[in-house]
Symmetry: none
Subunit: 131 residues, 4 copies
DNA sequence: GTGGTCTAGACCACC
DNA sequence: GTGGTCTAGACCACG
């Protein structure tokens, strides 16, 4: 599992960790039942304060995405995959609506917005295929 | 000019003011040369501390969107309209790209994204027409 | 006598007036004994608040550059020409020293400073000749 | 890093701080990546209100001269050195031009200005060598 | 009346 | 511990 922290990009570090773990689950890199790295381990690896990792893991526990296996560590919860996937999609829909609303309110024509959308989608699909 | 502050929506108050003034300029409610509400006036009207208004106005000055006429007040700068319009559109494009990228990365098919986009656009256009 | 006020250029309006009157005296446009425009007159002409003119004239009186002729108005004081000339030159010397000091402290070589100086002087002399 | 505040020299305190930090970066006392004094620390040290320090630091952030590492502090941004150096030199050139222009307009001969310049430069270079 | 600066002190999120 | 935001209230220069 690869997590990359970007200091000072606005997003709190614990949020970056939460998101990337959810993402790893959504795309199947982490599957239910699998152990995730211990607090100490991840703290060392990312050169991030242990408290910050704890905070991230707590958020994930509160959302029932991971759970503790006493004495063994933290594992991905059953049902986490479905949860993460649907969460992400709901989020995407909400943001899409916001962006469109802002665009319209700033005086962009629906036609222009559609053009933006299509161009962006095409170029992103292309870029993702390569990587 | 109507400014509405929403407490605790995440955005700092001064940012909400900055955005709404930029928006008012972009849509032509405020035009270059026009005096904007005085610090004390807006402070009273929004029930917000004067320093917060000052902060917002200073940000706008740093971006050359307003300028001071010493002892008289603050006016919309020449060129502010163009500035605000283009800023807003650039912002919309950037966010659109982000949303699409997130969508693709969360496993949504381009086709699904397009459906989301079209539905959202249609319903927003309908809603805006009414209001 | 021509006075030009630039709103919002940082310098207070009364200062701009004081300077330009001193300048007019230094270059001989205004000579000792000559009446200067009345407060009301100048206020109308420059579209500037009368209080501001009063303030400027007070500063000039405090420096003995103008004086009141009871019942007649304000006149340029005897000796004002010499005063204005020397004031300006002292000021220029002081600022020259400051600029050089800053330049040296910012890591510019004396040689570079000399080059800046010569180029600037040449171009300004050229520009002034034309006008 | 030494910062010296001079009360009431016309320049606002936050401006004095901004300038001196830029200067420290330009001369290499502060290098990119280095933590600058915390708000509270500098506030104590200079006996200046914390808000005033915050204001100064925000101005520096807006110019991309420093950036925040959330929860850890503020560091000099990469590229800040080049930025500060060039800013300072541009400033020096502008002021040099202004001074010369004023001198010419006050009736000083180019020859006299050159004499002023050379004398001032020589004496400053001498003084700086000693210190 | 206007904006600009400063202080004092509070509360927040983050690490 | 860090910075970020906000409030309250003061004083200043300017018009």
């Amino acid at each position: 599992m690869y997590i990359r922290i970007e200091a000072s990009n606005g997003l709190p570090i614990y949020e970056q960790i939460v998101r990337q773990i959810k993402f790893a689950i959504a795309e199947g890199t982490l599957v239910p039942g699998q152990l995730i790295p211990s607090v100490r381990e991840l703290s060392r690896e990312l050169a991030v304060n242990a408290n910050t990792i704890v905070r991230a893991y707590q958020d994930l526990q509160n959302e029932s995405i991971i759970e503790t296996l006493r004495g063994r560590g933290l594992v991905v919860a059953p049902g986490a995959t479905r949860l993460c996937l649907s969460q992400r999609q709901i989020l995407v829909r909400e943001r899409m609506e916001q962006v469109i609303l802002e665009g319209i309110r700033s005086g962009l024509e629906p036609q222009q917005l559609t053009t933006y959308f299509e161009k962006a989608l095409a170029s992103i699909v292309r870029a993702e295929k390569k990587s």
